[in-house]
């Protein structure tokens, strides 16, 4: 087993990886850019080393700096997390050159499966159905546009190098094609250092379902089942769950077999995800392979009981997969929401800044994969993902009830978060029935919203706005009236408010 692992990432995934290292007795070496010195992953790691200024191209994307730290700190392996260099074959190649083990697939498999167009070509060779579109990166904008025109709009522009909704645009007609192309390639360049795009037909209301696969270096490839990821905003997944509410045992078997076939054909090793679209008739179409750990890996962990990061490390160390497909017995249902620093009331614009206060949920069936803390300033330089809240339950219904409960306990002040969005989604009848598709959330968000949510209206008694109005008056009064001061330091003394409150309350109960 390894002695010390370099974690070539930041935020919640760096924390996730260092936790796995600690449980395995392996030392973790974190890296940090100038704005990340106080980040949670630096605080929790065994060791941490600076790698330059805030922009990722000068820090987290610098392979030379990472190799330098790995060498000096005495690391013997590198975990890339997701994003940044996780799907860049230059990193495993640099690791090999430096005598380090890369915790992920071999560079060749990454290229033959991970590059989106190459993956599509391979899928066709092994009879895995694909979404119609180009099999090569777009070279001439005009040609692509005329292909889009002939396939029929809407079409999707997608980054060859990417994932996570970056460098992706739906185009609804010729007029938008050019500007969408420019935006998407600019985003792709920023996110992955590669601006190449390709084109796909945009299917009507499909589910996004993906298969988690694992392959060891001894030829065994297994599927750990599917994740349903149809709830997306602007192609960015925001809720994921396992199992999918639409997948039958038979379809699960077929999709798992297709994923395993593809992985084998690509000489794949380690964790990977094969993404599919599933239409209303339960036909499935290959989309792409993500040659890395996914953001949403925890839902698979919660239903299988496996620790996917520890498995990745074991496989990279040459261990055999300790199980066959048949022995994986998923239990219950798991669902994840991605907590972002963004403002749902204002176009979901990013909301970096200082987290002034924070209460996090806990208790049965609740897991928080967190990358932030109270008092920390969320920087403007990276992805706005704060962390992930995951619930597990015996049934989809229990899981949703738990997630709602956990979201009610989660409060953040100082920055805006998308928590309110989830409280809204988790009571939508379509969602409760499992009837989502990849455009479902965008459509929901375009619908006008009633002034008060149903959850507020079925309450008798006082509403949150009553409480806010009274709190405002009390706050104001406490500014002048030092006898009733709420901000005084002897906060543990019963105040007059409190005493009166108790009396009045006992007097007034029905």
């Amino acid at each position: 087993m390894f002695r010390k692992i370099l974690i070539a990432n930041r935020g919640e995934i760096a924390v996730r990886i260092l936790r796995a290292c600690r449980e395995l007795g392996i030392r973790s070496a974190a890296v940090f850019s100038e704005v990340d010195r106080k980040s949670l992953h630096v605080r929790l790691a065994d060791e941490a080393y600076p790698i330059g200024p805030a922009p990722s191209r000068e820090s987290y994307l610098c392979i030379d700096k990472l190799m330098d730290v790995a060498r000096r700190a005495g690391c013997d392996a590198v975990h890339p997390g997701y994003g940044f260099l996780a799907e860049n074959a230059a990193l495993p190649r640099a690791c090999t050159d430096a005598g380090l083990t890369f915790i992920g697939p071999p560079a060749d498999a990454m290229e033959s499966l991970g590059a989106k167009t190459a993956g599509r070509q391979l899928a066709r060779r092994v009879d895995v159905p694909t979404v119609p579109g180009t099999n090569d990166p777009i070279e001439k904008l005009a040609e692509a546009q005329s292909l889009a025109h002939s396939m029929g709009y809407p079409v999707l522009l997608k980054a060859v190098a990417g994932g996570g909704g970056k460098g992706m645009r739906v185009v609804d007609g010729d007029a938008e094609f050019e500007s969408a192309f420019r935006d998407a390639s600019s985003e792709a360049m920023n996110a992955f250092g590669d601006d190449r795009l390709y084109l796909e037909k945009y299917l009507d209301r499909p589910h996004h379902v993906e298969i988690q696969i694992f392959a060891d270096a001894h030829g065994r490839v297994v599927s750990l089942g599917e994740r349903e990821c149809s709830v997306q905003r602007r192609h960015q997944k925001v809720i994921e769950e396992a199992p999918s509410p639409i997948i039958t045992p038979d379809l699960r078997k077929k999709m798992g077999d297709a994923a395993v076939r593809l992985a084998r054909a690509g000489g794949y090793v380690n964790a990977g995800t094969v993404e599919f679209l599933v239409d209303a008739n339960l036909n499935f179409y290959f989309l792409e392979v993500n040659t890395r750990l996914q953001v949403e890996h925890p839902v698979t962990e919660q239903v299988t009981g496996l620790d996917l990061v520890k498995l990745q490390i074991a496989i990279a160390a040459g261990h055999r997969l300790p199980f066959a497909w048949e022995s994986i017995t998923p239990r219950g249902h798991a669902m994840e929401v991605r907590l972002y620093a963004e403002d749902p009331d204002n176009n979901f614009f990013p909301s970096p800044g200082k987290i002034i206060s924070r209460q996090v949920p806990s208790g049965p069936g609740v897991r928080l994969d967190d990358g932030v803390y109270e008092g920390w300033t969320v920087p403007n330089d990276y992805d706005p993902l704060l962390g992930k809240l995951i619930a597990w339950g015996n049934s989809r219904e229990e899981t949703i009830a738990r997630l709602r409960r956990a979201l009610e306990e989660y409060t953040v002040t100082g920055i805006k978060t998308n928590v309110g969005l989830f409280r809204r989604i988790l009571v939508e009848p379509d969602f409760l029935r499992g009837e989502m598709h990849t455009r479902w959330l965008d459509e929901l968000l375009r619908r006008p919203r009633s002034a008060a949510s149903p959850a507020d209206q079925n309450q008798t008694g006082n509403s949150p706005s009553d409480a806010a109005a009274i709190a405002a008056a009390i706050w104001q009064a406490s500014q002048w009236d030092r006898h009733a001061c709420l901000s005084c330091s002897s906060a543990d003394q019963p105040s007059r408010w409190k005493l009166e409150g108790r009396r009045a309350q006992l007097d007034r109960l029905p």
């Binding site: 002040t413 009390i474 007059r496 009166e500 007097d507």
Partner: protein, 170 residues
């Protein structure tokens, strides 16, 4: 003490009259003429736990630069403006300038990566004006109204702070 509280949320605006009355041992609260049993304590700086007839609420209260209070309970957010009998400042009118010339400001710090309009262009409500990159996302800033772009105050590549004026639509 009688307070008029103008409470605004993203979806609606309501006015409340709150009477806080002191008696021998504390206070009595009337909300819009209805007597409410109130037990309020400070849980942490700027965080109040409040029991209204036994119902438990937790509210974060922060003064904002415009003298209003920002309140948050769960995901409900409110802005409160208080017309106080002893306050020196009178009623403010926040919505007076809702029509006419609009300043388009950056909603977050970032970098202007693309201008979609120039001075003199006619724009529709909802049309993109420019793209600001922040947190690795390209965010299109849209026009709140139909009209003419009067001025564009930024150029491509320029970093901007939250609240900085980007352009004006009249």
């Amino acid at each position: 003490m009688r307070y008029e509280v103008q409470l605004a949320s993203p979806s609606e605006q309501k006015n409340h009259v709150i009477e806080l009355e002191r008696d021998a041992s504390g206070w009595r609260v009337m909300l819009d003429g209805r007597s409410v049993a109130v037990d309020a304590v400070e849980i942490a700086p700027h965080t109040i736990s409040i029991l209204l007839d036994g119902q438990s609420f937790e509210i974060s209260v922060r003064p904002s630069p415009d003298a209003k209070l920002k309140l948050q309970t769960g995901t409900h957010e409110f802005t409160a403006e208080i017309i106080d009998p002893r306050a020196w400042s009178g009623r403010r009118h926040a919505n007076v300038e809702a029509q006419g010339r609009q300043q388009i400001v950056a909603p977050m710090p970032g970098k202007v990566v693309r201008l979609l309009v120039k001075a003199g262009d006619h724009v529709e409500a909802g049309q993109g004006l420019l793209v600001v990159e922040a947190m690795k996302m390209q965010n299109e800033i849209r026009s709140p109204k139909s009209g003419i772009v009067e001025r564009v105050l930024v150029r491509e590549g320029q970093p901007v702070n939250a609240g900085e004026v980007l352009c004006m639509v009249a």
